[in-house]
Amino acid sequence: MDKEVFEHYLNTNRRHFLGKMAMGMGGVALGSLLMPDLLTGKKAAEEQLPLGLKHFAAKAKRIILLVQNGAPSQLETFDYKPKLNDMFGQELPPSIRGEQKLTGMTAGQESFPLVGSKFSFKQYGESGTWVSELLPNIAKITDDICMIKSMHTDAINHDPALTFMQTGAQVGNRPSIGSWFSYGLGSENQNLPAYCVLLSKGKGNGQGAYSKLWSNGFLDSSHQGVQLSASEDPILYLNDPKGMDRETRRKMLDHLASLNQLGYDEFGDPEIPAKIKQYEMAFRMQTAVPEITDVSKEPDHIKKMYGPDCMVPGTYAANCLLARKLSESGVRFVQLYHQGWDQHNDLVGEIKGQAKDVDMASAALITDLKQRGLLDETLVIWSGEFGRTNYCQGKLTKDNYGRDHHPRCFSIFMAGGGVKAGMSYGKTDELGYNIVESPVHIHDLHATIMHLMGLDHEKLTHKHLGRRFRLTDVHGHVVKDILA
């Protein structure tokens, strides 16, 4: 059955449904984990998916999306362009720029001098993948990853570009990619949300990452991304108040349940037993979540692999380690945002620290998953929201420069979950401005990710205000060349 029809059916008959459930009849999985307990029996959630929802055999079961928020320069990381060093200070040829609109920040610039990377590049692994000296640990795992150098997007500013990457549209209240997976596949764990979000800040110029980006849009709000924080309350309002111990809380829930039962006896509204179940799940989350978020019991070799920061809550490294734990526990979609990649000026100074923040832990995450035998079923994606210009923004000196936003090309990498390992895909021109081979649009990336998760991006739809919406709108092609 179509997902959409199925949910419609559930919604229209929710009360009736819940009524039967309350009497002990189970057997159906709802999209998300935030509601599942009332409807599921003991089978794994996946076995109970609505018929026909999985469109293909899935390669990946879970996703970890590492958002490099602010847009890392592809020219200092993965897209090696020695020609730019040769042409230092020369004007960007108008023929190369073509019709490209510039941002308000450089549109007024009189000159667009080309500038090459201050950081050296080498080829690594059997695959011979180019990586700059800024990312020595990622360089070591090139044979496990698929590098895409031909990503492009429609948006030229942070907010619209991030929103586009997250929702497939630059504006409008559309569901985030994680919400789509929660909606389409549900979760594998009864006590954790299907879609978790982790935030960290780097040292570089930052751009915000905010709840709008993990919004459920027009999907049911149970598909909302749930932000886990580094504070004592890993999920907002998770902890009991002061003076309240578990036993007292348990007693309260028992009284609540008895009193609510009286209400059910009077009104017969099936929402009442459903609510009792929600409280029970909340109670279980209170123990389950802190167990997951506590990384202190990880063995030393793991801590070492992720680097010393992984013991500092709220850092990118700690979040990578936490992402592994969450994913391992069955969270369908874990998303990290790491701020600080917006190097309009002082790129040389800022990007070092920024790269250092993420290099070790990003590589460790992939290695860790691989060692546990989980990489095959977990898709890891490392990506910014757009690329950066090959010309300098602001003052160009021999030692330093800045780069503006550039939507026409950028580099990302993926690992595990059914993508080819040890591959570089797509090419840009020798000045690193335009794509010359195998372009991959954001919609194509979305289509490909869905494919790897066993979903047809044209079929996973939700009808809202008369129209069937998809993550990929009316676009997107699966990039078959990178499928393992």
Partner: protein, 767 residues
């Protein structure tokens, strides 16, 4: 209509039998009606499965065939003058029928790659429709409102016209309406629906003790006269108007639109007619008798998001703003998805891309900031509100700060620019020049009658021949009270929208609303005076089986409070509520670090600076809304994101909501303060619990409930007495001053009982 009812009945019965077999996921078979109706049976199928390629969108039309008009369907096919898509009463010759039943998949319609498929039921309906003459009717929502005859029903249950319509439909499915709810629950319901607040203990006492037959009506009038009525009505309007306290992009800077929000509350309380209310907001700057109040009201169309990022392309975002105003106009006032016609002709509704840009043109003549202003609170055009202005002209603006306030408004310059169709909706891909006008299928925009500006647009909107304005608003008022509108898709009255459950009732109410000068308070009163409204919310198995969604209104639906009401209820019943109306938005308790973690660190909203004192106890509609990082409690309880115009909220149930109810200091503090209040009273534990329960639930505690809670109290008292530190810790919540010399163990024990009551299912349900 009876046929639909029967179908649903059968559907319901089948559902039950399916369930018995445990086959939850199978869709029951519906019975094809004896006489198919184009609007109710056929068009939903065609619209959903065929119009995408054979509908109103000329650019995407396949084979030059359109099935949304009789001319298109009956005419000869493109390549064959002897073949016809539909030949009325002739299945064999109707190519449509042959194609939808084709065995050969390459011939099948809809095509396999469309992912659309007709069900057996749908094929049967289309077959019967063709056999019965393939008659097309105009879309119901685009036909002018005609006041229908009131059905004759003979029952003591009926109180006003609404009830005749409802009872008439209930008869068709053999369901009986419920009796009137008990007085206490009815009072809770009506008080919440009119003011958003639970009844005060005095009100409850008065209402319960009287036997006066007019007592209910007196209460209704009293509630409608309260200034809290305006706040309740405003809370929905703020969603419609996408009101917020920040600009909505990137650094998400502060904005100061709250004086506009104060005006909205004032306008509702003054009972402005809907016509005046909307005219001020859409065209207050163009009115012959304009003044600062009418201009302030135009802030409605500046509530959209504004991108202040340094790198933006100015024209792109100007177009984005005009688009937002156009789409909001469509959704809020016409109940249409106009936005679907921005990039191409509408796929389902008779709205062309040109008509989209005709409508767009009204909002395109507005002065836009000359260039990016940087991160300012208000961008031109704006008005400055000084103390003097407040005193003389805008007394309803609750301005306490000495600084002047700048509020963004609309200012027109008729010849400022020409408006073009934007090809594919792209901001710089200009096509044909267009003039201000509206979609003709709704009502022709006759320039001899209406001026070609926003004031003319409001005249068109409130022309009694306009089929949508009244229906759409009446439907939303109904929705806010019953949880669902008579048209459930309250934002889509078009072809893909839901059909009305009670079309006669909707038409009657809409006509009556117009006849009575768009009087909003009168409309609310009319609804809450009906027996339909006053019914109890008890359901039984028969009602659940036949009509699980309560489309027929055989009982009142139990509805969870909105996020604002949950808060207001806790504050009001604990005695903490600050009843002040209007003023700048407030920052209440919120877990630390949410804004800080999500922001870039720039701008005055990078850090959350919580308010203190009385500001902590303001009503939910005054909570500060930072668009990119919404207040977490609101977000979890389904508040609108204020990203764009929203006309209906979701109502979900998640464990995250349970965590908030259990652990949010707002609720805990309410429990603590009410406990302290009751501890001071000279009364027994029984009496204290009875009093707390009565205040919070707005009803008398039942013996069984009392027994349970009193027993629980003694248990907790003992537990806290054995661990006084825990009692001390537990009651240390919230900034409200503590009761001096309190018995900490007793306060903690009673607080625990009260907190339990706050967490009961019934507490936050309008039942």
């Amino acid at each position: 209509m009876k046929k639909i009812v029967l179908q649903l009945f059968i559907l319901g019965v089948l559902l039950v039998s399916c369930k018995e077999e445990g086959q939850y996921a199978s869709i029951p078979q519906k019975k094809v009606p004896d006489r198919v109706d184009y609007n109710f049976d056929v068009r939903p199928i065609l619209s959903d499965k065929c119009f995408n390629c054979h509908g109103p969108d000329a650019n995407k039309r396949s084979e030059d065939l359109r099935l949304d008009t009789p001319e298109g369907a009956y005419g000869a096919l493109k390549d064959s003058e002897n073949e016809f898509a539909i030949v009325p009463r002739n299945i064999e010759k109707s190519v449509v029928y042959q194609r939808i039943t084709a065995k050969d998949s390459s011939n099948l319609m809809p095509p396999v790659d469309s992912n659309l498929k007709l069900s057996d039921y749908e094929i049967k309906v289309l077959k019967k429709w063709i056999e019965q003459g393939a008659v097309y009717d105009a879309h119901w929502a685009f036909s002018p409102v005609e006041k229908p005859q009131i059905p004759n029903t003979d029952s003591d249950w009926v109180n006003n016209e609404i009830d005749h319509f409802v009872l008439n439909k209930l008869d068709e499915v053999d369901l009986q309406p419920n009796e009137i709810a008990d007085k206490e629950r009815l009072l809770k319901r009506v008080s919440l629906d009119i003011t958003g607040l639970p009844p005060t203990p005095e009100m409850r006492k008065k209402f319960i003790s009287t036997n006066n037959t007019n007592a209910y009506e007196q209460i209704v009038d009293e509630l409608l006269g309260s200034d809290h009525y305006g706040e309740k009505m405003a809370s929905h309007w703020l969603d419609v108007a996408r009101y917020a306290d920040s600009h909505g992009f990137q650094n998400d800077q502060l904005r100061t639109m709250w004086p506009w929000r104060d005006w909205v509350i004032y306008a509702f309380n003054e009972n402005y007619s809907y016509k005046k209310f909307v005219t001020y907001q859409l065209a207050g700057d163009l009115m012959p008798k304009k003044n600062i109040e009418t201009i302030l009201a135009t802030g409605f169309n500046r509530n959209h998001k504004i991108n202040q990022e340094a790198g933006i392309i100015e024209e792109e975002y100007r177009i984005e703003n005009v688009t937002d105003r156009t789409n909001t106009f469509g959704k809020a006032f016409l109940g249409l998805t106009l936005e679907c016609a921005k990039c191409h002709d509408h796929k389902y509704d008779p709205i062309s891309q040109k008509e989209y840009f005709n409508t767009f043109a009204f909002f395109d003549k507005v002065i836009h900031r000359p260039k990016a202003m940087g991160e300012v609170l208000a961008e031109a055009p704006l008005i400055t509100i000084t103390d003097e202005v407040v005193e003389k002209e805008l007394p309803f603006v609750n301005k306490k700060e000495p600084e002047d306030i700048e509020v963004m408004v609309i200012e027109e310059k008729a010849d400022i620019r020409t408006t073009h169709i934007l090809n594919r909706g792209v901001y710089d891909d200009k096509g044909e020049i267009v003039q201000p006008s509206t979609p003709e299928s709704v009502l022709k925009f006759d320039t001899l009658v209406y001026d070609s500006n926003r004031l003319g647009l409001t005249k068109w909107l409130f022309d009694k021949k306009n089929p949508l304005t009244s229906r759409v608003f009446v439907n939303r008022v109904w929705q806010e009270i019953f949880g669902e509108g008579i048209v459930r898709s309250s934002g889509d009255f078009g072809m893909q929208g839901d059909l009305p459950t009670h079309i006669g009732l909707l038409n009657w109410l809409s006509a009556d609303f117009m006849e009575n000068d768009w009087d909003m308070k009168r409309l609310v009163k009319q609804i809450v005076m009906s027996s339909t409204y006053k019914q109890s919310s008890v359901v039984d198995d028969k009602k659940l089986a036949i009509d699980p969604d309560n489309r027929y209104l055989s009982h009142m639906t139990r509805l969870r409070f909105s996020s604002e009401t949950i808060r207001d209820h806790a504050l009001a019943t604990s005695g903490l509520l600050n009843e002040e109306i209007g003023g700048r938005s407030v920052k209440v308790y919120q877990p630390d670090g949410i804004w800080e973690a999500a922001s870039s660190g720039r701008g005055i909203l990078a850090n959350y600076v919580q308010d203190h004192g009385e500001d902590l106890y303001r009503r939910g509609i005054y909570i500060f809304i930072k668009r990119t990082t919404l207040p977490p409690v609101q977000l979890t309880f389904d508040a609108a994101t204020r990203d764009q115009c929203e006309v209906k909220r979701q109502s979900t149930m998640t464990p995250l909501q349970a965590l908030i109810a259990l652990n949010d200091p707002t609720i805990l503090e309410a429990a603590r303060v009410l406990s302290e209040t009751l501890i001071q009273e000279e009364s027994t534990v029984d009496e204290k619990i009875t009093e707390a329960f009565g205040r919070i639930m707005s009803r008398t505690i039942k013996p069984q409930e009392k027994e349970m809670l009193v027993g629980y109290y003694h248990d907790q008292e003992e537990a806290f007495a054995n661990n006084k530190q825990k009692a001390k810790d537990f009651i240390e919540v919230g900034e409200y001053p503590i009761l001096k010399g309190r018995d900490e163990v007793k306060v903690a024990a009673l607080m625990q009982i009260i907190h339990t009551i706050y967490n009961l299912e019934e507490t936050i349900v309008k039942g």
